[in-house]
Point group: C2
């Protein structure tokens, strides 16, 4: 099966392990082997990491997970601001530089520019004079959408109710279908 | 001179070009050739990008800038939420996967966990039940700090006044000094 790294702030849920299992089950239904960030590495941690603080071990483990996967699927649902979770965005950049196709899904259908204006109560600029990046329908900062498109991936969004923002998996499932159809990217 | 990519939301300032010139002048004072995201590519854009939407051209140009630099210096000052600007965070991940040393600077001295709690009015979890990542003194999400440390870089912070959040360059200058001292990383 095609190994795909499941980036997202889902690791911060109270039921993170169980939710990761749900994501993996949907992946499996589409011929994908989902790797959740909380998973252990197949070969165990690198012995060179012994003695490092836990945060650094987790960071290196997730980098190794991404390198061991053929593609990355990112939960881009906005997290504490107009953009996706910072850890997720880092991982998109990491996967992109390794040449992996990157796909995204989000339970926010409103584009990034509109979300940014709502967050800042701004028009063209926010209260500190910083420009609201506005390239129309982009899902997030142009580096993110640009990388996804350039890598051969795509973004799938759903207009989820506020209460279902972190639980609706309809956009995720459409994303998995698209990844499975992109086997030529993943060879 | 050592080429360093100057990632940050400084591109959104009203005086972005002039500010980029100030950053480059400080770089030059430390033997560094600063590359600002708004710069053109030395060899011009890839002809294959002709016809792409502007956002996609900018994304590919910045990826090429990063690949052409020996290191990355990121402005991690929090941007519309507790984390750094999403474009900047993407670029940190990109540089890290290419094996480039990554350095950061920020005009917020308060650690990420404390900033996240202030943003969410949360304790251990936010209002949606999502965990506040708390590894003590980290500057941002552990993927960012972890990558910077693993790459041989470091983060430099200053407790700037609110009005100087986007203009104080004291932490940036300390960061440039450290990059210049790390020549062995940049070979």
């Amino acid at each position: 099966m095609i190994r795909v790294y499941l980036a997202g702030p889902d690791v911060f849920r109270p039921d993170a392990e169980a939710f990761g299992a749900r994501l993996k089950a949907i992946c499996a239904g589409h011929g994908l082997d989902g790797v959740f960030p909380l998973d252990g590495l197949a070969g165990g941690d690198d012995p060179a990491w012994a003695g490092l603080p836990l945060a650094q071990v987790i960071a290196r483990r997730n980098e190794a997970h991404i390198a061991g996967c053929a593609a990355l699927i990112a939960n881009l649902t906005p997290f504490r601001g107009p953009s996706a979770d910072a850890g997720t965005v880092f991982e998109i950049g990491y996967a992109r530089a390794l040449g992996r196709p990157v796909f995204g899904w989000s339970n926010a259908a409103l584009p990034f520019a509109a979300r940014s204006r709502a967050f800042t109560s701004g028009g063209e600029r926010d209260g500190e004079g910083m420009l609201i990046e506005d390239f129309g329908d982009l899902t997030d900062n142009l580096m993110i959408d640009g990388a996804i498109i350039a890598s051969g991936g795509a973004v799938f969004t759903a207009a989820a109710e506020a209460a279902a923002r972190w639980s609706s998996l309809e956009a995720f499932e459409r994303c998995c279908k698209a990844v499975a159809r992109s086997a030529q990217l993943l060879a």
